[in-house]
């Protein structure tokens, strides 16, 4: 089984943004630039998450999906604010291969079943965001951790698969954006309780963290954001960002948190391969 390494691009309006734990969003640039860069450097899939998910900004998300799917020939998952079968159909028609459902699936679990029967289970990924309480208990939440649900994320994962989810993505809200490493316990308990693949998300600060969540967390795939984005920013000509705001932050080319080691996809995959974890090597992707 080949472990997938998946860049996750958080999108607000026309921009790629990165949420920093407790600090809000920063604009990093145009998602298409990053998508192309990751495609050419050996990404196994891409995930676009609309972090604001306001309906009036839907057109710009659909445009981004269309432009991406026309020239990037790896699977594209799109999530964020998908509430109805029509919302799901719209992003699939724009060119997404899979959709990620979180809030709407918790509010109305039948949506997962309806979507799976209409578009196929493998098209429906259920995204679970979880926080860890100080007593070690976990709780599922929505809206990037802003809303608590009282739901046990482990029970919810099993139920989501019964309802028709073809894949589960689990995000540790506490670790997200911190670079402190994945929540291994959270990931492992979910990965061991379901038969479908599990994508771990939130907290990667270095390639070793990715290895840990695969070996100890039993993840089938990993979604990476900061660690790759900061690596990507170093390679892009500064002038591309001149008109996109937040220039000082972008051109400073600093990592905002010392815990994050900017890495390339090749660095991550090399680390996995060295440890004997199977993954599709960057050298065998056919990308120049």
């Amino acid at each position: 089984m080949n472990i997938r390494v998946i860049p996750r691009l958080d999108i607000k309006g026309p921009n790629l943004v990165k949420g920093i734990h407790l600090e809000g969003l920063r604009v990093l640039g145009k998602p298409e630039h990053f998508a192309r860069f990751y495609y050419e450097s050996g990404a196994d899939e891409l995930i676009y998450l609309d972090v604001v998910a306001s309906l009036y900004e839907r057109n710009s998300l659909h445009d981004i999906i269309k432009r991406t799917s026309r020239e990037i020939f790896i699977p594209l998952t799109v999530g964020g604010g998908l509430r109805t079968i029509d919302d799901i159909r719209a992003v699939l028609r724009a060119g997404a291969d899979k959709v990620a459902v979180n809030t709407a699936g918790i509010r109305r679990p039948d949506l997962i079943t309806e979507a799976a029967s209409r578009f196929g289970s493998s098209t429906i990924l259920v995204s679970i965001e979880a926080i860890r309480h100080s007593d070690g208990r976990y709780e599922a939440c929505t809206d990037n951790g802003r809303e608590r649900t009282g739901i046990d994320p482990f029970e919810w994962a099993e139920r989501a698969v019964d309802l028709g989810a073809g894949e589960i993505m689990v995000t540790s809200v506490d670790r997200e954006g911190t670079g402190k490493g994945f929540d291994l316990e959270l990931t492992r308990r979910i990965a061991e309780s379901v038969d479908v693949p599990v994508i771990a998300c939130g907290g990667a600060g270095a390639p070793d963290d990715v290895l840990a969540v695969v070996q100890e967390g039993r993840a089938d795939a990993v979604a990476l954001a900061s660690i790759l984005h900061y690596g990507c920013l170093r390679t892009i000509d500064e002038s591309e960002f001149a008109a996109e705001g937040n220039v000082e932050f972008l051109t400073g080319r600093r990592t905002p948190f010392s815990k994050i080691t900017p890495s390339a996809l090749a660095d991550v995959k090399r680390r996995l391969a060295e440890a004997g974890v199977e993954c599709r090597p960057v050298e065998e992707t056919g990308c120049a």
Partner: protein, 218 residues
């Protein structure tokens, strides 16, 4: 590519046809999406894509009058390219949620992934991700869209069921998942089909479309 035949991408309401069309256009093939059996029968070449359940897919194909159209089309000797569920539909029958009759264009059946393990880990079904595609025997890829590719090339898979062609001759490529080796591409005469998604398999998937375009134009 001048005078390239138009490619009909069969639309029967199952799955994402857009990436298939984008890949066709990327290699210069004029592709159009159609659910009209008459257009399919008259097309220069046909792609049968698909994601979803076998039984639903056959029911829809039947209601569109597409089953006969595809059988008649295949009998003309023009190229038919099946992808993912499109490979499985070519078989005689499937055991996905009951037993269903398929198009029967390649003798064989569709079965669920047997329980398999890899080391201490039970493998996950569906298989979602990249895996190596290996030539079933020396020369098996000659004359197929796989011909220019290196043996063992990575392609992208999403599936819970696998095909078992009745004869070894129909098996073009094999892939190993956990400890299960399965048929990842099959061919019979003018029909070629693969379990993986070349349109989602990066530059090496696009190469398959390029070779398909070359075969269609020759």
């Amino acid at each position: 590519m001048p005078n390239t035949p138009r490619i009909a991408v069969v639309d029967y309401g199952m799955g994402n046809l857009y990436s298939v069309c984008h890949a066709c256009r990327h290699v210069g093939l004029g592709a159009f999406v159609t659910g009209d059996p008459e257009e399919v029968f008259r097309a220069g070449a046909v792609i049968l894509p698909g994601v979803g359940a076998f039984g639903d897919a056959m029911a829809t194909l039947r209601s569109l009058g597409m089953v006969e159209a595809l059988r008649n089309y295949a009998a003309t000797g023009k190229l038919l390219f099946g992808i993912c569920l499109g490979l499985q539909l070519l078989m005689e029958r499937s055991y996905e949620f009951g037993e269903h009759e398929g198009l029967g264009l390649i003798p064989g059946e569709v079965v669920r992934f047997p329980d398999a393990v890899m080391g201490v880990r039970k493998i996950k079904v569906p298989q979602i991700g990249w895996n190596r595609v290996k030539e079933a025997r020396p020369g098996a890829w000659v004359g197929t869209p796989l011909e220019p590719l290196r043996d063992g090339v990575y392609q992208y898979f999403v599936h819970s069921y696998i095909v078992r062609p009745a004869l070894e001759d129909f098996v073009v490529a094999r892939t190993v998942y956990g400890d299960v080796a399965f048929c990842s591409a099959a061919a019979a005469g003018n029909i070629f089909a693969c379990q993986f998604h070349p349109e989602r398999s990066g530059p090496q998937g696009i190469q398959i479309y390029k070779q398909f375009a070359a075969l269609v134009s020759s």
